[in-house]
């Protein structure tokens, strides 16, 4: 499932998750790049036996201005989000939306094929599908 239920029945699992999130919040994450929460764009990462799926929630961006690169097993998403400047006489009451340049980096698993990447932008979400290498896919071995 993509989404975590807020009130799962398994309370112990939820406490475990809470503890993990606390550790991440205090930068005790084992990943050298940590897990930046609250960054733009927000990212969800998932996987199937055939592919790795990355969803970047980047609304209102010209897809042509997005720069997606894979180098040495690291995926970088960079770009700029320009918001219209409010007119001089206007009053800004709430200003919460992200504006400016952004860059986010994700370490990819070892078994992905950097040449089989597909990126699509729809409803403000950039979806990047990276296929796993053929040799890494599960195979059923027939017994003779």
């Amino acid at each position: 499932m993509m989404y975590r239920s807020l009130f799962p029945r398994d309370v112990l699992a939820e406490l475990d998750r809470l503890q993990r999130e606390m550790q991440q919040a205090f930068h005790l994450s084992p990943s050298i790049r940590g897990i930046a929460r609250g960054g733009f764009p927000a990212m969800n990462v998932g996987g199937t036996p055939q592919s790795v799926e990355i969803y970047a929630f980047a609304p209102g961006i010209d897809p042509a201005s997005l720069d997606v690169q894979i180098e040495k097993g690291v995926l970088t998403i960079a770009g700029e989000r320009k918001l219209p400047e409010p007119a001089e006489q206007a009053t800004v009451h709430i200003d919460e939306r992200f504006a400016g340049r952004f860059r986010r980096v994700v370490t990819l698993p070892d078994d992905v094929d950097a040449n089989a990447v597909e990126a699509r932008y729809r409803d403000g979400v950039l979806r990047i599908s990276i296929a796993r290498k053929q040799s890494a896919q599960p195979r059923r071995i027939t017994i003779q």
């Binding site: 499932m1 993509m2 989404y3 975590r4 807020l6 897990i35 929460r37 764009p41 927000a42 990212m43 969800n44 990462v45 998932g46 996987g47 199937t48 036996p49 055939q50 592919s51 799926e53 969803y55 929630f57 980047a58 609304p59 209102g60 961006i61 918001l83 409010p86 007119a87 006489q89 206007a90 009053t91 800004v92 009451h93 709430i94 200003d95 919460e96 939306r97 992200f98 932008y121 729809r122 409803d123 403000g124 979400v125 979806r127 599908s129």
Partner: protein, 124 residues
């Protein structure tokens, strides 16, 4: 226009939802509101103006391959909701909405009587 935290009212709004970031800009003609709702297709966006309450709701619909397991999720709920209280001088019947690539733009004009008028000073 004041921001009110999502209040538990009906059963439909009882489900947990993400609070989308917004920009609210006011000029002499009215209020412009921008909201970031990435992942929401046009048909899953619900806008409602009831009395002086504006409700923005959207369901996220992503193409997810069968059998996918999430390993990291920052967007952890499948819906957005945010409720605003409109002030009296806004004309809630004439709200204009545009929605494109996950960004909602709402124009809420001021009522005719509330438009600015220059008061002539007559010197007698």
């Amino acid at each position: 226009m004041t921001d009110t935290t999502p209040v538990r009212k009906q059963s439909a709004s009882d489900e947990a939802a993400l609070l989308p970031p917004v920009d609210v800009i006011e000029d002499s003609s009215g209020i412009t509101l921008f909201a970031d709702l990435p992942g929401v297709p046009k048909d899953k966006l619900h806008l409602q103006v009831e009395a002086d309450t504006l409700t923005i709701e959207g369901e996220i619909a992503l193409d997810v391959p069968a059998g996918m397991e999430a390993s990291h999720a920052e967007v952890s709920l499948p819906r957005y909701r945010r409720v605003f209280t409109l002030s009296k001088e806004l004309d809630s019947a004439k709200v204009n909405a545009e929605f494109s690539q996950g960004v909602l733009k709402l124009l809420i004009p001021k009522a005719e009587y509330a438009q600015p008028r220059k008061v002539e000073v007559r010197v007698l």
